[in-house]
Amino acid sequence: MKLIFEKSIPGRGQDIFPKCDVPVKMPNVKAKEIKARLPEISENEMGRHYTALAKRAHGVNDGFYPLGSCTMKHNPRINEKMANLPGFAKLHPLQPEHTVQGANELITELEQFLCEITGMDAVTFQPAAGAHGEFAGLLLIKAYHHDRGEAERNEILVPDAAHGTNPASATMAGYKSITIKSNENGTVDIEDLKAHLGPKTAGLMLTNPNTVGLFDPNIMEITRLVHEAGGLCYYDGANLNAVIGIVRPADIGFDVIHMNLHKTFSTPHGGGGPGSGPCGCKDFLMPFLPGLTCKDGKEYKRAEKSIGNLTGFYGNFLVNVKAYTYLLTIGKDVASLAQNAVLNANYMQEKLKDIYPIAFDTTCMHEFVIGLDPIYRKTHVSALDVAKALLDYGIHPPTIYFPLIVHEALMIEPTETETRETLDEAIEAFREIYDRIFNSPESVQQAPQTTPVLRLDDTRAAREPHLRYTFD
């Protein structure tokens, strides 16, 4: 389809701005010579352009979206309605404090909810996304060690199954990442962990359940060992949906956590963001918190040894309003989310495991991983091919080629908001694709066939980059 620039006709456009009711006066500086080539298009044409684009997109509202590690659950409408209230959406971030008491009350109460859910003592809403929350949490760890005169602790331990953001965040925080191996069960190899703990250990970053969907049975020992070595334990909350209401990260030895409000707490992901990645910590880390913190629900203050700010104002406030609305709805029954999420994942795993190789065949948490490698070796049909074939069934594919410890990985996370019928349809699709892998492998390798474009050439995009429209 055409780009909006290709629909632009000089002289067309929309009339938004009023005539100037004061004398026109511009800053007296060197004149602008080059004009921006923005589209000139009527409202109707523009509306149709974006409607056509919307038809070429797939959201949770369009169909099943079992994208592992991304928790693509339903985004309740009431959340959107509340975030759009003028009493929130029209607040200037630098309004006097007495004019934003409702906003402060909301954030304070949301902080209490999240503290109760995680077991932490405080939460900062400065981080705008999960990776930003990781960065904030690592800076808290760094500030803590520096404050104690232990700046030589410059290593962060990261399991090989971790999200790529973990080691990337560690680098941003000035740390060296040390990779810890997984054992044959897919969880942390305790001996390898022990071998890497020492006087240089600043901390461990762990996702639990991890990225293969397994709850680490040795978790209490792991956090104890890290603490004994003088390190702190960071909980990557990407998979919190699996244990919400059932396990509290602080109770199992974690000192810092980030949560992805756009995963566990139902706020929409908007095709890439905005998210919100609040970072929680135990009381001994509170003096280092970023931004302004508010303990009484009224006055915001800077923590005494604060690491600074991560966003210009207070993070993604309206996203936080949505998460708050969600938690008011769910209330104390949060464990029901984890229960159904875990049930749905195990149901799918159980109904596929007779044909697809499951990476670690045991009870999973909220997601499970198929390791297609044995099938790939026999048939040359890859995880990518299976993912693309699912597109023709109207299903968003799982996360593929992650975690890195599983070859030809397909990581499936159904979430709790899917019905049994939806799961059954997806299972049926997976089984049909399995038959095709053996009966007509080329039909899988050539999928998709029903999407607006066929398989795209990623290599060409990277080798000959075209990152913008080229005007004639």
């Binding site: 800053p27 602008k32 409607t51 997109a57 959107e80 630098l94 941003m172 929409p268 890439g272 597109l391």
Partner: protein, 438 residues
């Protein structure tokens, strides 16, 4: 209690039995008992939709929504055309994840490709990324882009918004690079001080300045750019995107990187977020850009399509060697910016810049007539600083009238801001109120 779980308890039990579990306790026995929560969480009872609506509305109503706003300082009260909300509200856009699977995400990918083009156009640069969290964090990422083995010191102007500086410093605590603030003189960067500092420091990597700066002044960018380039450092301009409808773009000036806060492009004030960090640069810096990039390619039939590209920079591929840890960005805000710029077009882009400037100059003149004079002599666009006999008293009087006055800053001065939404009548009302107070 409200719920979004579709299956009934009976259905759940049936499914559990079917896959070999007695009940949920049986399913969750994989978690060691000592790790489990004892008893019930201290959270309120869940509410149904009407109760939730009432409670959250109640909180919203405790806040004051000003009908007339003269405060900026990083968050600007611009008009959001109706089309922006209507189009961006489409659930296909709102409820999608990052477009990892290109074939069913062409709509998202193309909208961001168009956004990248528009940002490159307004900033006069070759290429732009798919968005970052907000202006301040984008500024911090831009500084990091300039670092190499031999050059790591970050220089910033003293006339930079302290909130942006604060974020740059926080990122630098992580990355362990030095941040040096070049003092401002009469509301602008002291160019001599900059020249001297850069000449004395072989490790200087970049200089970042704001355009217009925190005090609203349009600095002599040519001089600052020249001074920076003479020292072989990179010149970064932090821009108000709508100012670029009136002022020369960073590309015209010769900057290496343009960044800024995209909030004025179709986003509301939103109590500070979600906003939109934009970043654009010259083509030669393509492989050090942080965050997502969308590129054009073809499908197996040769038809045009779009994909996430040059991913070898990114965390999911490069892990600890990535150019940034950015994963989620602000794609939906970028979509809004794209719709906004398409709505106003090149004509509106100039009009809005002219309106902001004219209103600000009118207001500055009128304030001057009642003794609230401009503090600095430099040229300004939408914001300016005046003296004030008693900022607190004036703002309190304005607040009673439903007006959010300018931001009180150092020495009892006020930083005022005008946009196209401030009519002459609104401005005259502020003047009248000030006359009553003083």
């Amino acid at each position: 209690m409200g719920t979004f779980i579709p299956n009934t308890r009976e259905e759940q039990l049936k499914m559990l039995k079917e896959i070999g579990y007695k009940d949920f306790d049986d399913l969750f026995k994989i978690i060691p008992d000592e790790a489990k929560v004892k008893g019930e969480l201290n959270l309120p009872e869940g509410l149904n939709e009407i109760e939730v609506d009432r409670k959250v509305q109640g909180l919203a109503n405790k806040n004051v929504v000003f009908r007339s706003i003269f405060r900026g300082a990083g968050a600007y009260n611009h008009y959001v055309p109706s089309a922006v909300d209507a189009i961006a509200g489409k659930e296909e856009f709102l409820t999608a994840y990052t477009p990892y699977q290109a074939e069913i995400s062409q709509g998202i990918l193309q909208s961001i490709f168009e956004y990248q083009t528009m940002i490159a156009e307004i900033t006069g640069m070759d290429i732009a990324n798919a968005s970052l969290y907000d202006g301040a964090s984008a500024a911090a990422e831009a500084c990091w882009m300039c670092k190499d083995r031999k050059h790591s010191t970050i220089y910033v102007s003293g006339a930079l918004d302290w909130r942006i500086l604060e974020v740059i410093k926080t990122y630098s605590f992580g990355r362990e690079s030095k941040v040096v603030v070049i003092p401002d003189k009469d509301g602008v960067t002291d160019a001599d001080a900059l020249r001297k500092a850069l000449a004395d420091d072989p490790e200087a990597s970049c200089f970042l300045m704001q355009y217009p700066n925190f005090y609203g002044i349009v600095e002599d960018v040519d001089e600052l750019c020249k001074a920076t380039h003479e020292a072989d450092a990179k010149f970064i301009m932090y821009c108000h995107p709508l100012a670029l409808g009136a002022l020369r773009s960073p590309g015209e000036v010769g900057a290496d990187i343009a960044v800024g806060e995209g909030q004025p492009l179709g986003l509301g004030l939103e109590f500070g977020g979600p906003y939109l960090g934009f970043l654009s640069t010259k083509e030669e810096n393509m492989r050090t850009i942080p965050g997502r990039l969308i590129g054009e390619t073809v499908d197996t039939k040769g038809d045009r399509g779009f994909v996430l590209t040059i991913q070898a920079r990114e965390q999911h591929i490069r892990r600890e060697k990535a150019s940034s840890n950015v994963c989620s960005n602000e794609a939906w805000c970028a979509l809004r910016a794209g719709i906004y710029l398409s709505t106003i077009g090149p004509k509106g882009f100039e009009e809005v810049a002219t309106l902001c400037s004219s209103k600000a100059h009118y207001m500055a003149d009128e304030l001057g007539k009642i003794g609230m004079n401009l503090v600095y002599g430099g040229e300004f666009w939408n914001e300016f600083v005046t003296t004030c006999p008693d900022a607190e008293k004036l703002n309190a009087a304005l607040e009673e009238r439903g007006i959010l006055g300018g931001l009180p800053i150092c020495d009892g001065n006020i930083l005022w801001c005008c946009t196209e939404l401030n009519s002459k009548e609104d401005i005259d009302e502020v003047i009248a109120a000030a006359k009553e107070v003083f």
